[in-house]
């Protein structure tokens, strides 16, 4: 069987997205900035797409800026928030330890430019604590950026409350919602969000398109200089095919949000229950505030890349937070931020489901996993050492 369980990395395009894209490629080929009918046609379609995306987020069309990806939106939002802060003499930013590298590396860049950044800890369950955020706020805090849903462990942060706190204190609030949009309810007004990043290929749109939502009261400046596209804020001919596909995909996801959430969480819960039966394993993240489709586990005594390749040989696509898969010597910063020791973080597995997966596929994963873990453990000196010191390997004690 072939099972694609890496939807947090990217998703297959939906039929709706592909159907929206095809005419855009062969017929709607005009440049939206052109005066003639071909241009006007393309511009109408672009406007329609913008209205759709805005509606899905509870925003106004003029607050939506199309970008090349979620990473670009993150970079733009954070650099802008910092610039606006610096203009007002405020150079302190608050974020957290488990942000995506698009956020962390942008913050690191700002630190080199003289900004102070406080990274809130996330404790065992991956959640940011409001009291700690409140305590970290200073008179010179200009921006708070906290991701809506973590890509690795699926933890859903208390965004509405964080937004409310920031609103109260007059601090700009940005959220990287790349893993959330299209999967859980996101409403920029109700959730008190000033700026938000999203990425098409995480909800069945093609790769190469994303968007930044920026509240109209925020004086956003250009990220990319050039033509007058995106209300003069982002030069570059609009990626019409991708944008139309993204709007169609988002509309479809939002229309089926409740039923998809129910279907996917049921599969997720069965997966978690089944994997938990494997001794010396732990599920990462918060049981109550978890994305519908993301399952993160650590299996003691084995290493992530070998686990992934064994799964791959069995036809299952997944990912891991081990060092070998991150290209550095350290395992994922997210798992380390949870307080997991290196040895355990190396044995991590992330399975991420979407509404295209089936219970049959979940059953297949659960069939394959115990043997794979057992085989890898049998050749692991770490596991064999653990066995020597354990009374009962079945309860891992």
């Amino acid at each position: 069987m072939f099972v694609y369980a890496d939807n947090a990395a990217t998703t297959a395009m939906s039929k709706a997205a592909a159907d929206a894209m095809l005419p855009a490629m062969r017929e709607l080929y005009g440049n939206p900035s052109s005066l003639h009918q071909k241009g006007r046609e393309a511009n109408m379609a672009l406007m329609g797409a913008r209205e759709t995306v805005a509606r899905c987020l509870g925003a106004e069309a003029k607050e939506i800026y199309f970008t090349g990806c979620g990473t670009e939106a993150d970079n733009w939002a954070i650099l802008e928030g910092a610039r606006l802060g610096a203009e007002a003499g405020k150079k302190h930013i608050i974020s957290d330890a488990i942000e995506h590298h698009a956020v962390l590396h942008t913050l690191a860049k700002l630190e080199k430019q003289g900004f102070a950044v406080t990274y809130l800890p996330v404790h065992e369950n991956g959640l940011v604590r409001l009291e700690e955020l409140a305590a970290a706020i200073r008179p010179d805090t200009c921006l708070v950026t906290v991701m809506f849903c973590n890509n690795e462990i699926g933890t859903l942060q208390p965004i509405r409350e964080i937004g409310a706190l920031c609103r109260e204190k007059g601090i700009l609030f940005h959220t990287d919602a790349v893993q959330a949009v299209g999967h859980v309810p996101v409403n920029v007004v109700e959730d008190n969000i000033d700026m938000l990043s999203l990425s098409g290929h995480k909800f069945h749109a093609p790769k190469g398109v994303g968007a930044l939502y920026c509240k109209k009261s925020v004086k956003l400046k250009n990220f990319i200089e050039g033509g007058a596209q995106e209300r003069g804020r982002r030069g570059g001919t609009e990626a019409i095919p991708g944008i139309l596909a993204m709007a169609a995909a988002l509309e479809e996801s939002c229309a089926h949000l409740e039923e998809n959430m129910a279907k996917v969480s049921a599969m997720r819960d069965k997966l978690i229950a089944g994997l938990s039966k494997i001794p010396c394993s732990r599920c990462n993240g918060d049981p109550d505030h978890r994305a519908p489709g993301i399952v993160s586990f650590c299996f003691e005594g084995i290493e992530g890349e070998s686990l992934l390749l064994r799964l791959d040989l069995a036809g299952i696509c997944a990912s891991s937070g081990s060092a070998c898969t991150s290209g550095s010597l350290d395992p994922s910063h997210v798992l380390l931020a949870l307080g997991l020791p290196h040895e355990i973080a190396h044995g991590s597995l992330r399975l991420s489901l979407c509404e295209y997966n089936t219970m049959e596929e979940v059953d297949y994963i659960l069939e394959q996993m115990p043997d794979i873990v057992r085989t890898l453990r049998q050749m692991s000196p770490v596991w064999l050492h653990m066995l020597e010191n354990m009374e009962d390997p079945y309860t891992c004690s």
């Binding site: 290493e303 290209g327 190396h346």
Partner: protein, 147 residues
């Protein structure tokens, strides 16, 4: 981060040779550490003619780590101890038809595991051992290289 593994690497990963332990091993070497994500343990049974009559390994690590330790056991089984000492990581990589650049350190670890096991054999026999100059964790070298 895409990674291309040769067929040989995948074969050794999927069906590793000589996995296990040796009850009456007379040379045991362990290198690496769990913090780095790679540990290799080699068990040697060396006979009175200094021939490696049996070898087994255990590895905690990625596909490259498993493949390099597996093929290393093949390369030294039935050979004289002195030949095992001259095993190089280059030979291991060649035998596997190559490794991605970021995984070459796994082959170094395999070489070190073999040498550590031989060093242990010499130590038990009370013989002098000058293998140990390369005994610090190969990952320290990688870290230094990355800084």
């Amino acid at each position: 981060m895409a990674m291309e593994y040769s067929e040989k690497v995948m074969e050794h990963f999927a069906h590793p040779h000589n996995v296990g332990t040796i009850e009456d091993a007379n040379g045991i070497g362990e290198v690496g550490n769990a913090k780095c994500g790679d540990i290799m343990r080699m068990y040697l049974k060396i006979d009175e003619n200094e021939i490696i009559e049996d070898v087994k390994f255990q590895t905690f690590g990625c596909a490259s780590a498993i493949a390099t330790s597996s093929i290393a056991t093949d390369m030294i089984k039935g050979k004289p101890v002195t030949e095992a000492l001259s095993l190089t990581n280059k030979a291991v990589v060649e035998a596997l038809d190559g490794l991605p650049a970021v995984k070459i350190h796994c082959s170094v670890l395999a070489e070190q595991a073999v040498k550590a096991a031989v060093a242990d054999y010499y130590k038990r026999k009370g013989m002098p051992c000058d293998i140990c100059e390369s005994c610090d964790c190969v990952h320290e070298h990688i870290k230094a290289g990355m800084e």
